[in-house]
């Protein structure tokens, strides 16, 4: 449930679902997100679900804080729509060509490369949200012994397809971008495709993702199959 609604500036509602990050709170956020999106309230022009917040932007020419707040408070999101999520397998190549931060992770986590990959691969991760850059999924939760901080100095360019870790989360760089996460491997899949306007994101909030290891040869041949 929404614990508190406040304003973020004069053209957005800030819906707070609590401070913890877990699947149950995030599922509530996604339920509200999907219900509001479905109902198309006049004037709402954007919705941003995240771990435990939902930001609702509106066109101040058409509506205002009071009207949107009243609408959200009276919406029945509890039973409206099921989450309708997918389970996806994402191929990832962790060859040294791609795992730019493996040494750093070995040092911070005090685990061998083999152990890090064993802990990371073949497990289910939940997609909490997508964004920052188009289509980037925020996946969790990593095992307790897999949690590392961001790089002290972010990279100016992280290659497209990089699979990277920070704290309890993993993500995928959908295109080349600056970034400070610890890069472990790379996927040959197009996780964001702007030519598919109705479904540009491969992974959406509520989906489950499993990383499966592929070899460098499989990686190179992946898009030719």
């Amino acid at each position: 449930m929404i614990k508190n609604i406040s304003n973020l500036g004069d053209a957005a509602l800030y819906c707070d679902f609590g401070n913890e990050v877990n699947k149950s709170i995030n599922s509530q956020v996604i339920k509200y997100f999907k219900s509001i999106k479905e109902k198309k309230f006049e004037g709402i022009n954007n919705l941003t679900p995240s771990y435990n917040k939902l930001i609702i932007s509106y066109d101040l020419k058409k509506t205002n804080f009071k009207e949107v707040k009243n609408y959200v408070e009276n919406i029945n999101a509890e039973y409206s729509i099921d989450i309708n999520s997918k389970k996806l397998e994402i191929p990832v190549c962790c060859h040294e060509n791609f795992s730019m931060d493996i040494k750093r992770l070995e040092e911070i986590l005090k685990l061998s490369r083999e152990k890090i990959l064993e802990n990371f691969l073949n497990k289910e991760y939940f997609c909490y949200m997508t964004g920052f850059i188009a289509g980037m999924p925020f996946l969790g939760d990593l095992d307790e012994n897999m949690r590392a901080q961001r790089l002290e100095t972010p990279r100016v360019k992280v290659p497209k397809g990089s699979v990277a870790l920070t704290e309890q989360f993993a993500n995928i760089y959908t295109f080349e971008s600056p970034g400070g996460w610890n890069v472990l491997g790379n996927t040959p899949l197009d996780v964001f495709d702007s030519s598919k306007e109705d479904k540009p994101n491969l992974i959406n909030p509520g989906d489950t993702v499993i990383f499966k290891e592929i070899t460098l040869d499989q990686y190179k041949n992946y898009n030719e199959q």
Partner: protein, 314 residues
């Protein structure tokens, strides 16, 4: 083949096609984009008898130098811009907020914006552009929109699909006013900052840094001290949000911003001041002034009425 087109002799620094932008895409990581200074965008279209949501050429600092080929067409420039029009044997200095007619072989040379950042060039007609999510606005970071999501380049040719039959020459007397203070509404993490930090935010002057673009405006000045946590759990952003990272220097989110961020939000720029904020060039001094939500709503309503008024007089 189109017989009406522009050739880009010099593209300028950051020249893109922009329109009203795209909505309902924050949740997949795509921001609004669209013209940075919305009022000047609308006026530009009105001056050349276009629909108000038509695509225009937006430039920053130095604009493009273009050569036109085809039938007679009107154009207009808005903002605070220095430009010239080169006809067969004459070159004249152009005035903003006034439409001109050009013909085959004429050139428009947009030399620079004057103590401001963005200017707009509208042509009386329709560019032949690719739309993505109902907008041709170029987002160079995600490579979304027309021109493969890239800024305009030297030697490029841009075709026009249509030329307006209404070629009435229009003129208006608009002056881009500067404002002393940027009005802000308290942010959701305002209490993360020390009493001293809050005071600095509202009382001291900040300087717009060179590291500013369509994504964000970085400010430099006295450090704003955080006493709770320099990170928050990542959450949605909107344009105008002022985040303060660990180094204590505020960053204001602009039209091409990342949709999610993890720095505390000290404030949000009131919608009424957004058009004027984006025009503040590097080196400009900014002072913030707090207003409440209801004043922000009223001020925006008045600003919007003024915009409609301006448009109806053209």
């Amino acid at each position: 083949m189109s017989s009406n087109y522009l050739d880009i002799i010099r593209p300028g620094i950051n020249t893109t096609f922009q329109d009203k932008g795209r909505d309902h895409l924050y949740h997949i990581g795509i921001p609004f984009s669209g013209a940075m200074d919305n009022r000047n965008y609308l006026i530009a279209n009105k001056l050349v008898n276009n629909n108000l949501d038509s695509a225009v050429i937006e430039f920053a600092y130095q604009g493009p130098h273009i050569k036109y080929s085809g039938e007679k067409i009107n154009f207009a420039v808005t903002g605070d811009v220095i430009f010239s029009i080169k006809k067969k044997d004459t070159e004249i200095e152009g005035n903003c907020y006034e439409s001109y007619q050009i013909e085959n072989g004429d050139e428009i040379n947009i030399i620079s914006t004057n103590k401001s950042v963005y200017g707009y060039l509208a042509l009386g007609g329709e560019f032949d552009l690719k739309f993505q999510w109902n907008s041709c606005s170029i987002n160079t970071k995600a490579n979304i929109g027309s021109n493969d999501g890239k800024k305009l380049d030297e030697g490029q040719r841009i075709n026009l699909k249509k030329i307006n039959s209404n070629k009435d020459i229009k003129k208006t007397n608009y002056i881009n006013t500067k404002i002393e203070n940027i009005r802000v509404i308290k942010g959701t993490n305002f209490d993360y900052f020390s009493e001293e930090g809050k005071k600095i935010f509202y009382e001291k002057e900040f300087t717009v840094s060179k590291l500013s673009d369509r994504m964000g405006m970085r400010l430099e000045g006295p450090k704003i001290d955080n006493i709770v946590n320099t990170n928050i759990k990542s959450e949605g952003l909107i344009k105008g949000v002022i985040q303060v990272p660990a180094d204590g220097n505020p960053i204001i989110m602009l039209s091409d911003h990342g949709t999610i961020g993890g720095y505390p939000k000290i404030g949000v720029v009131a919608s009424v001041d957004y058009d004027r904020l984006v025009q503040m060039s590097p080196g400009s001094k900014i002072k913030f002034k707090e207003i409440n939500l209801s004043d922000a709503e009223t001020l925006f309503r008045l600003y919007e009425m003024e915009t409609q008024n301006l448009l109806s007089q053209i």
